[in-house]
Amino acid sequence: MPSVASKRPIVNLDGFASRSVQDLVEIFNQITASASSPRSSGHLLVLQKSLSPVINFLSPFSKLKDLTDIRRVVWLDEDILKSNREPRDVIDYETLLKEFKSVVFLIEGSILSINCVAEILKTRIFPFTNSLDDGVSYYDLSVLVTSNSVKSADLSFTNLNVRGDIGLYKWSSSTPLMLSSDVLSLERESGGLRELYQLGSVGVISDLAQALLDLIRFSKYNIRITNEFAKGSYSKEFLSIFKNLRETHYSSLSPQEKKLLDDIDDALFVDQHSFFDRQCDLIVLERGLDFVTPLLTQLTYTGLCDEVFGVAFNQVEVETEDEETQAGGSNQQVLRTKKSVKVHLEEPHDELYQRIKDLNFAMAAPLLNSYAKDLQEEFNSRHQAKDISQIKSFVSKLVDLTANQNFLKNHTLLAESLIKTIKTDSAQDEALDELQGDLRDTSQSNYFNAFLELQQDILANNLDNKANYKAITEFLYMFEPPFDDVMRLLILTSIVKHGIRESEYKMFQKELVETYGIKVGPIMGRLKEMKLFCPREHQDYTFLPSLDISAPQANSASTNTGKLGSVQLINDFKNLEAYLKLMPVVENPDLANPTEPDFAFPGYVPVFTRLVESIYSRDFMQESSKATNRPGWKGFQRLGNLLDGPMEENVLVPDSKKQLFGTPPPPLRQRAKDDTLEELVIVVAIGGISHGELSTLRFVMSKFPSKRLLVLTSGVIRASDVISQAAS
């Protein structure tokens, strides 16, 4: 997209990722500097295991060791508090303490981890530090917490009577992780869904708000949010928490910094127009708005990788069979060894991945082929080299070519493994296929396709209650699928049909317990509370009951439903789908150049994507709802009846500039030609977002070349996260 390249970025995020490591190094420098023992023997790092992938993501460990003078790493003994632990797991601190004068604990800062540290200090470390014979040996004991909870951590350590013995440091910039140039993620377990919806904790929201504030500070306040949009009660809560954090932060600024902020505002609000020319939008959405999408099978390259192998911290682990042909004379032997290969996605310079990551896999695979061909041709070009200069130019490209070849190898490996999973086992028989025409393949021997088809049927509401029950149970009997997959279908059914018929709900319950045991009982209970898998309520959902009655009180209704913890917000899927064109009918679909963002899921557009798109363009909607002369959700009231949760839309004008906006905003003005600063659109996805949704968001935003998308989320999630968050 050339138009984007010419835009001046509002903030250069390159440093945002590296600042985490810099901060960590800085903390270690502080620890070293404040060391009471002048003899530097390096640090012993006691690391909470769950933080290890984060560290690995941020920096190769060897490099970190060099930078921080960490000499050795042991795991935090998280079982230490259990009474029935195996004694052999004990880490021998006595020996370690002879070697190290500085012990640094790196923990999340949860109560559990804090108690572990305190217990280790009391039972494993203090006995040895106190009984040392030379008396002058001081030990430096430091604790780094990665969460924002340093105030409470401080208090907890005080409660445990060890606060005086340790130096407490906060390394809050460990998150969000920059997963790609436009995605920042806290990488919470299952996207923080459990915290949000099972426990009803605002912790995730609070951390997201903190992350956004950090981002703004990182941009030296160049990110000045002018418009905010929020849908859903948690989203509204986010705005409120963010506002509090922002105000607290601003009140703590030095007068010089305050002046800087005022200057930015002055430049931004010269007149009514200037503000709209330099928009920076904050769009806050929560998972409750759309539990449908994350349950569907993701069909983009990255999404499918996540679905099939699981992508964690941009890394895929895939099992391959290695074929080694041993040429032993005439009798060639083929040795097959299974091994698992780790493939890193989002590697810098991996252009191939950037080209295919958001594509529907059906398109990605051919692209891989043609890329391979091109690459081979480039390699072959060496044979055509006629003179020294041509050879030289080839050699100079060689490094890149080899790197690209490696990338290609990795992606080919992934693609082949994916194809194995999704292709029908039974051999294609073209002659027969032609004769059979539309007849459905009775064998259904391919799980992937059967699953996909069933999803589509449910989404399109093709099946009546009875048929739906039959289809799902048959799927269950036939494939004996994992619990998660059955649950996905049931939740879809429940959302689409606004609850499952009481009798069928009971039967499903029985079937599931029968198959997977009573341990799934509590999971179903929690999903029921979340209104994800639930019986239809008794005041039955008759055809469009509330439309006319509740329309006038749309606004007051939004405050009623503003209660925290309301979970599944889709109220009327059928009409929502029609209103937002979630399942657009595309004539002659061209997968290579899709016109609708429905390529990432089986013919389905995520609600998030539509909500974001609708701010800037309503072209996808019916004529009547289109009218909007300026970005925003104006004229979108009907949505309130279909999708619960309050809807907020604010223009953030400082009080001093309010008089400029006393009159209604003027129509959109032609943008000045020399306006080269890009406009940031920050989408905050509370409760996680899937790869497929990210792809569609990118697709939608690419239609607005002056806008730059930045997604901040509590985690990149997949379907199993939605189910597992309900497990204990």
């Binding site: 108690n115 904790s201 027969l432 004769l435 009997y477 341990k519």
Partner: protein
Amino acid sequence: MNANPSLGWERLQDVFYRIRECCPTLNWSQDLSKNLVAVAPFSSTIAMFSNKFGTGAVHGTFIKVYSGSGSEVCSIPWLNSNGDIVALGWNDQMHLIVVLSSGKTRVYSNFEGDFTEFSLGLSTGETVKEAKFWSSGMVVRLSNDQFVAVTSYKRRVMLWLEEIVELTLKQESVKSWALNPPLYNRELSVLVSTETGIRAIGTTTVQDMGFKAGASCHLIALPRVGDFVSLFTKDHTILIVTSDFKTILSEFSSDNGGIPIQMEWCSNDAVLVAFKDEIKVVGPSEESLAFYYDSDVVLSPEEDGVFILSNDRLEFFSKVGDATAETFRLGSTAPSAVLLDAIDQLDRHSPKADENLEIIKDNLVEAMDVCIRAACEEFDAYWQKRLLRAASFGKSSVDLYNPEEFVEACNILRVLNAVRQPEVGMFLTYSQYLNLGPEKLIEILLTRQQHYLAFQVAQFLDLPVDPIFIHWACCKVKYSRDLSDESLFDVVMKKLEPRKPITLAKVAKAAYEEGRTKVSIMFLNNEPDLNKQVPLLIEMEEDELALIKAEDGGDADLLLYVLIMLQNKLSLADFFQIINHRPKAIGVFKQTLCQFYPKLLQDFYYQDDQVGKLAELELDSEYGNHNLIKTQQDVDRRRTTLHGVSRLLAKGGVDAQEDSVLVQSELYLLTLQEKYTNAYDADFFNKSAVEMLEKVLSLASLAKAAKAQKELRISDKRYWWKVAKVLAKEHRFEEMYEFAVSKRSPIGYEPFYHECVKYGEKRHAALYVAMCSRLNYKQRIRMYLVVDDLKSAAEEAFKKRDLDYLSVIEERGNSVIKRQVQEYRETMGGRR
């Protein structure tokens, strides 16, 4: 006023010194000789304690604090029962330090009598004899001639200096000592003169300087900067030596026979010795100056000079700066002097003004710079103005001149003149001001409660004014005991409102400390930073309000902080009571505390009567991670748990009772698991009903499986599927076929076909195709083809008269099939 400042100058060798009056008269009537006196840095305040010798058991003695101009700033009542004051001192925070003979030390943080006290921890019998102070600490000499240093009052860091054995054993006695503070990369040490010489005591070393001439000297003094030491020896000689005591730089015999009281350095140029009635100034040569007084004097050294306090006046003794000297020296022809003269001429409307400019035109800029610098040095506004005018006059004839220095000098002089007014009485010199910095100056003004002046200065120098308002508000709160809560709040907020957002926690704290909780909360409600607001509310026992505030803010860390605080101080019941109906608090509670203390969650659900949740917890822990049944005890435990859960649920609502049904059937399943485990001698525990059925199928005959199906209450469809799957997997195809044809299948026969295909049993698979009556013939043909039964496929195609399929089959078949197809074709053709 002097016609020329130089008239008051005194020359010592080739250097001019001058002594300037800071304040014409001190408006006190104090006799320095009867008081303990401590002059604060910059002579901003002077502390005095009248009961110097601890004689009178007088009631109502006071530590009086005066400004530099002698007006009383405050007076701190001192009861003799508090202890005997040995020394008064100041630190650079303008905190008054009071050292008692018992070793107790008080640090007064303001002039309202607020202090913190700490003890040096002396052993019994030890008392403090003397104390000497530096900007951030002090050294005390104890009665047993040990020296103790306090290097930080705030952190109360005390260092016991190395002891000199001869002293502590009383073989020798201390004649005098001086403190070498730990500044400029020097380590703290004390120079001690005894009968045998001079020793330097550090924290770990004692060094004998071997300087016999310094034995038993009356006084020792060190300059702030520079490696010199001055000694006043017992034979009344003032010696100036290098700090390593190797070289004597100057030796001066005093003609005053009296006992010297104090010796101080003026910068590092000259030494001042104060006698009872005279001050002698000794330079590096034989010459000396003498100033006579009719009272005791106190010397207070600064970086650039010495303050001299006598009974009736405060003076500043300093070297005349180069700029001032060359401008004012009589007969000076320096450019600055000429420029200054031009102003005189100008005032007289003499044309010589221009001539003067002409003379120095090549050095005009230099002349202006010097004039500006000289102006800064002057105390007298008349000369300041005159010099600045000279500079400004010169400026008019220079094309390009950077006016920054000029403007800055004007600004600073304005500030300095303001604080030098008798009402304030801080005789800060220009260079002292530069060292101090404007922020510090404002702080000092605030401790003196000069709020308006501080505000003016801050505005004038473009510094933040918020701290001034806050300080004012705190004082206002403190001194407005008579105002009602509302009016106090209104008065304060009227001033602070326009300054929002401004942090009010300090004001609230001040109010709380005054015991005015209500108004304190009113202030806290206006505090923008919850992190400051909430902890204070908890301190004030406003638990519920703190929780509400933390909830409103939504910062999870702060919420957790409050929860832990509340949990620390409240009983569990009260704790639950307070968090009840606070969804965010409960959320954070569940996410954090309960993850670590699962029992807490149980208690919470119990008090809240959440039966379903309690049951869920029970089940989770029973079926949780790797909690498998291995022994009979496990079985019993599980049964007990399930019974418990079932009873629990029975008490609940409709939903709970429905769940209770599930638990009941699990109990039933457990019984079956026991039964089957015994019957089949295999482990049936930890399995679902379907898994149990599968196990029976693979272990036993179909008849037994059918019985198990009934017992396990598994539907026919599920059963048929399971049979097909298990038997095919175990290659029991014959059995499977028998079963398939024994009854009409509720699931059709495709599953049987597919399962056979899956395990490569094509022959058996073909048997089921014909039974798939629900399927289209095309599909059947395909099924036949998959299992290589071309004959049946052809037959099927023939039945439906499908020539297309027949040709496809013909293509794939061997000669037998081809012939067969040919036959079919003919038959069909024959008919046609």
